[in-house]
């Protein structure tokens, strides 16, 4: 590469690193002041706002330079507000003893009415909550008053943890949400004052830097350029790869589980969010923004890298388009128009919340458009998946449309060689991915049952708990933290290969009913291993190629890279009539060689 180009690359790298460092510094770079007006603005419920205000006197109008101590102080306020409510609304030991005394061994719910007679708010609350949580005890006889007392204390505890916290205090969801929005609103930072400038110093620098780093590749002759990949500290799990993986994992942890710490980052994209949907940015707006930029910039890299292959150019353009239009812009515009947020290319069970009651309600209450969305989503599941997989293979979705696939094929492309090719990994993969599919089906069935019946108990599990577990472990933990965080450690398709329930569904159809296969070219394979090495799904492509057998695998996402890197022109993604699809493992060669399996 000429010297001038090398300089441009270095400048690009410098800019990128600068932008990245600034971005990270911004995480810490704000002061926080809790004010009355912040509280007023962030609380929707004025009673709770004043409760919070009461407990926050020590913190009010104090400057705090650290997001960590600020958040921990906020948590203490919520804690003390809840304590305060327990004092007011909680049922005391004396009251329990009183109830026992009134009932003797046989509990009567009427004793509650006789104990709390007032019409004041507290008495009403106590009466109602005791009935909600304790009426199942009505008429029961106990061996001793102590026994009854124990049962009543159980009810009291339930009232504390559910009724009081939910209705007059702060449950953990509210604490999480409010901590996030209070922190965001309390921040005084240069970012907020000047978000466009900081947007440029971080994202601008990173994008510009990346482009300067990537564009000189255009000077190289076209063709596969994999030189030095296994000597590269980024691409062969060297220190830089491990650093990147760790950073990504940390980022996802914060995003999903501790968003209250990253409000300064979110503020940066407020202007963009306002321009698009009219509201301040949420953390997932920031995430979608970063995601789209990664796909666009690294998609550009992918196109340059494979510019000799029209297949790769079209495929990459397609994922760039679907991410930008379908996943990012259209849903935001829908929100601006007061319509439900909807990603028209996301398909259950990847979109695991499609059947959640909140979303079903939203769609069914949004007129024709809502019903259309509901029908569209169902049609994707029932019609589009099997029909398109039959005609094109699972690639139509996984490497042409999907957002997870889109990120894997662009941002993740430099890491494709890190996937494990062993038979053992294949076995683990089959158990895991089909396990997740089964989990998604059971969870969704439970959710739908709850939607129809109104009862959260299905057989032996609680459908709310199950969806929460799914959301945390599969939706956030697997798809996010592991799915992307592990790019530099285990390759770019960890989620798609081991976890994605939609990939499992597409794969089952691809394996058993499709016209798609990868064919091998007669006897030309030299067993070099490029195809297997660069298969992001960890398919040992060579195993098939060197015995002259078509590759028909449920996991194949049809990225076409095996075909691109093969130095002997052996592999081709083809769609043909189904007959003979699996092929016989035989190589063109000597006459009279008989096939033995």
């Amino acid at each position: 590469m000429p010297n001038g180009m090398r300089v441009i690359k270095l400048v690009g790298l410098g800019l990128f690193v600068t932008g990245f460092v600034i971005f990270n510094t911004l995480f810490f770079n704000a002061t926080y002041v809790l004010t009355e007006s912040v509280i007023e603005d962030t609380f929707r419920d004025s009673a709770k706002a004043s409760l919070f205000l009461q407990s926050s006197s020590t913190m009010l109008n104090q400057k705090d330079g650290s997001v960590f101590s600020f958040v921990s102080d906020l948590k203490k306020i919520f804690e003390s507000a809840n304590q305060n409510q327990f004092g007011i609304y909680g049922i005391t030991q004396e009251e329990v003893l009183d109830l026992v005394a009134r009932s003797g061994k046989k509990f009567s719910i009427a004793s509650v009415d006789s104990l709390y007679v007032g019409a004041d708010e507290v008495s009403v609350f106590k009466r109602k909550s005791f009935k909600d949580y304790g009426s199942w005890l009505d008429g029961r006889e106990f061996s001793s008053p102590e026994e009854l007392q124990n049962q009543l204390l159980g009810v009291v505890e339930k009232i504390r943890t559910y009724a009081i916290i939910n209705q007059v205090g702060f449950d953990r969801y509210q604490v999480k949400d409010l901590t996030y929005s209070i922190t965001k609103a309390s921040a005084i930072s240069p970012v907020k004052a000047n978000s466009s400038l900081y947007l440029f110093l971080t994202f601008g620098f990173c994008i510009l830097g990346a482009l300067l780093y990537i564009l000189p590749k255009l000077q190289l002759p076209v063709g596969i350029k994999n030189n030095g990949i296994f000597f590269n500290v980024m691409k062969s799990t060297g220190w830089l790869g491990i650093f990147t993986g760790t950073w990504l994992i940390a980022f996802y942890f914060v995003l999903y589980f501790f968003p209250e710490y990253m409000t300064n980052w979110v503020s940066m994209v407020d202007p963009i969010s306002k321009a698009l949907n009219g509201n301040e940015a949420g953390r997932f707006f920031l995430y979608g923004f970063i995601y789209t930029i990664c796909i666009l910039v690294m998609g550009g890299r992918m196109i340059i890298h494979y510019r000799h292959s029209k297949y790769q150019i079209l495929r990459t353009t397609s994922v760039m388009f679907f991410q930008t239009a379908f996943a990012f812009l259209i849903p935001e515009v829908l929100v601006r128009l007061n319509k439900p947020y909807f990603d028209f290319k996301n398909i259950w069970p990847l979109d695991y919340s499609f059947f959640f009651d909140s979303r079903l309600k939203e769609l069914t209450s949004n007129g024709t458009l809502g019903l259309f969305m509901l029908g569209w989503g169902m049609a994707l599941i029932i019609i589009a998946v099997p029909v398109f997989v039959y005609f094109f293979g699972k690639r139509w979705y996984c490497s042409w449309v999907c957002g997870c696939g889109g990120l894997a094929e662009t941002l993740g492309d430099p890491y494709r060689q890190l996937s494990n090719k062993s038979v053992k990994a294949w076995n683990v993969e089959r158990w895991m991915i089909h396990g997740v599919l089964a989990f998604a089906i059971v969870m969704t069935a439970g959710v739908i049952y709850t939607y129809w019946s109104g009862s959260s108990w299905v057989l032996f599990f609680d459908s709310y708990q199950l969806r929460e577990v799914y959301g945390a472990f599969i939706g956030a933990g697997f798809a996010g933290v592991v799915g992307t965080g592990f790019y530099p450690l285990m390759g770019n398709r960890v989620w798609c290969r081991f976890g994605c329930p939609l990939a499992a569904y597409l794969g089952i159809i691809q394996r058993f009913k499709s016209r798609f296969r990868i064919t091998t070219n007669g006897g030309q394979c030299i067993s070099c291993g490029n195809c297997s090495t660069y298969c992001e799904m960890g398919i040992d492509v060579r195993w098939y190629a060197q015995r002259g057998q078509n590759i028909v695998r449920s996991s194949c996402v049809g990225c076409g890279v095996c075909s691109a890197v093969c130095p002997r022109g052996v592999l081709n993604l083809e769609v043909k009539e189904e007959a003979g699809r699996f092929g016989k493992p035989i190589l063109i060669g000597n006459n009279h060689i008989k096939l033995v399996e």
């Binding site: 076209v222 063709g223 029209k310 297949y311 007669g522 195993w543 000597n590 006459n591």
Partner: protein
């Protein structure tokens, strides 16, 4: 139970072992002194260039051999005793066999140049060669490669991937012109130059000089030019690796002599792969063919024979492939470097200088003879069938698009090529239309 011993764990020996295992439960032992497990020699370059790790170029996982009861012995065979049917190994062990397959491959040629044993002068054949190359090209600025063949061009690409400048000495008029017709050879020569290979055609190595540490510091060419260098790659062909067979009583010339059943002159001893020299002629084929595919086919054939189904080595129509930097090459049938008097041909080249096709057929019968193709992929299965069926050039042209094996959406050139042929040979046109 019969004990089959195989010397050499390359493609030919391993194919034999695998196919014997599929067909029998004979005891199988494979001996090699190069690496413990079978690896793909053709992928050595990719290790050096960082496209793959050693793990990646092993076609089978390490537990494959145990699972398939193929014993691997990492040792060198010093001598073969054909009378007592045993092998003398370097470690001192003796090894008895019932049947022996010699699959010992090749070694790089050296032609007795002055200075050829200096440090930094080497060929590239074995894993050990790659290790020395790794060691001796560290911090090298300029290298010279001698020998315009496939291994030479691979070495050039390898060195350039490490930013080492390369001067490439080629005896012929154009790169690989002893095999490729001049137009193709010229196409590849041009391509090498776009990759900054300093290609010196019609130039031969005369002498190698070294510094006071015994390391190469320059080469002298037959044109009187001195080219300073710190590494010299010798890629002037390979010869069967049969030194260890001297005095064994097995007949050899350049290679181990075998008949059509791949039997040597000694019963129960066979030979396959690069080390073989056929005592009978196969039309259009040399008697020593040192390519991956022939080794693999011989391995399949000998396995079938040993398992009781005596089979002749009949490799079918010739095919081969290679890659010159960014240009892939495939060939089916025979296209010789000079057109024979009874042949006609058509050469097409794309304006971007990375795609070309060269078709050859017999003038009288119009029978299709062979094709060279660059930058376009063609279906082996089609050409194999057409060559076996003795199809005409008209037939091949009519069906050319069926043979295309390029990925979806790639530009197609069949129409251009066919009309080119018609323009040059109007007679062909009439028959295509008919």
């Amino acid at each position: 139970m019969k004990h089959i011993v195989i010397i050499g764990n390359g493609i030919s020996g391993i194919t034999a072992a695998r196919n014997i295992r599929k067909r029998s439960d004979f005891r199988i032992t494979v001996i090699s002194s190069e690496t413990k497990h079978f690896y793909s020699r053709t992928a050595l370059m990719y290790l050096y260039m960082g496209h793959m790790k050693y793990e990646n170029i092993k076609p089978y996982e390490d537990n494959f051999w145990k699972k398939n009861k193929i014993d691997l012995v990492f040792d060198h065979v010093d001598q073969v005793d054909t009378i007592s049917k045993s092998l003398q190994l370097k470690s001192g062990n003796q090894f008895a066999f019932d049947q022996l397959i010699i699959a010992s491959g090749s070694t790089s040629n050296k032609f007795g140049w002055p200075g050829q044993n200096l440090t930094g002068v080497q060929g590239l054949y074995s894993y050990q060669d790659l290790e020395t190359m790794e060691q001796h090209t560290n911090k090298v600025k300029h290298a010279v490669i001698v020998g315009g063949g496939l291994i030479g061009v691979e070495m050039a690409e390898m060195l350039l991937s490490r930013k080492i400048e390369v001067t490439f000495l080629v005896r012929e008029k154009e790169f690989w012109n002893n095999v490729l017709p001049i137009k193709e050879a010229n196409l590849i020569s041009r391509h090498l130059r776009t990759h900054h290979v300093d290609l010196k055609l019609e130039t031969e190595l005369k002498e190698i000089t070294g510094d006071e540490h015994g390391r190469v510091n320059a080469v002298l060419t037959n044109k009187g030019e001195t080219i300073p260098c710190q590494f010299l790659g010798l890629a002037v062909g390979v010869s069967p690796n049969i030194n260890f067979l001297s005095n064994a009583g097995i007949e050899v010339k350049k290679g181990v002599l075998v008949n059509e059943f791949l039997e040597t002159n000694i019963p129960d001893i066979y030979a396959v792969g690069d080390c073989v020299e056929r005592i009978y002629d196969l039309s259009g084929r040399r008697n020593i063919e040192q390519v991956w595919y022939t080794g693999r086919m011989m391995g399949e054939v000998v396995a079938q024979t040993i398992c009781g189904d005596k089979t002749k080595y009949e490799p079918g129509p010739w095919f081969n492939s290679a890659k010159f930097f960014d240009i892939e090459y495939q060939t089916y049938g025979r296209v010789s470097n000079e057109l024979k008097p009874d042949e006609q041909d058509f050469y097409w080249e794309h304006a971007d200088e990375t795609k070309a096709m060269h078709l050859v057929w017999y003038t009288n019968s119009n029978a299709f003879k062979g094709i060279n193709v660059f930058g376009i992929r063609l279906r082996h299965e089609c050409f194999d069938r057409w060559l076996r069926e003795g199809r005409t050039i008209q037939y091949v042209l009519l069906h050319l698009s069926e043979a295309n094996f390029d990925p979806e959406f790639f530009n197609r050139y069949e129409a251009q090529i066919v009309s080119g042929v018609i323009a040059k040979y109007p007679a062909v046109k009439m028959e295509i239309n008919a």
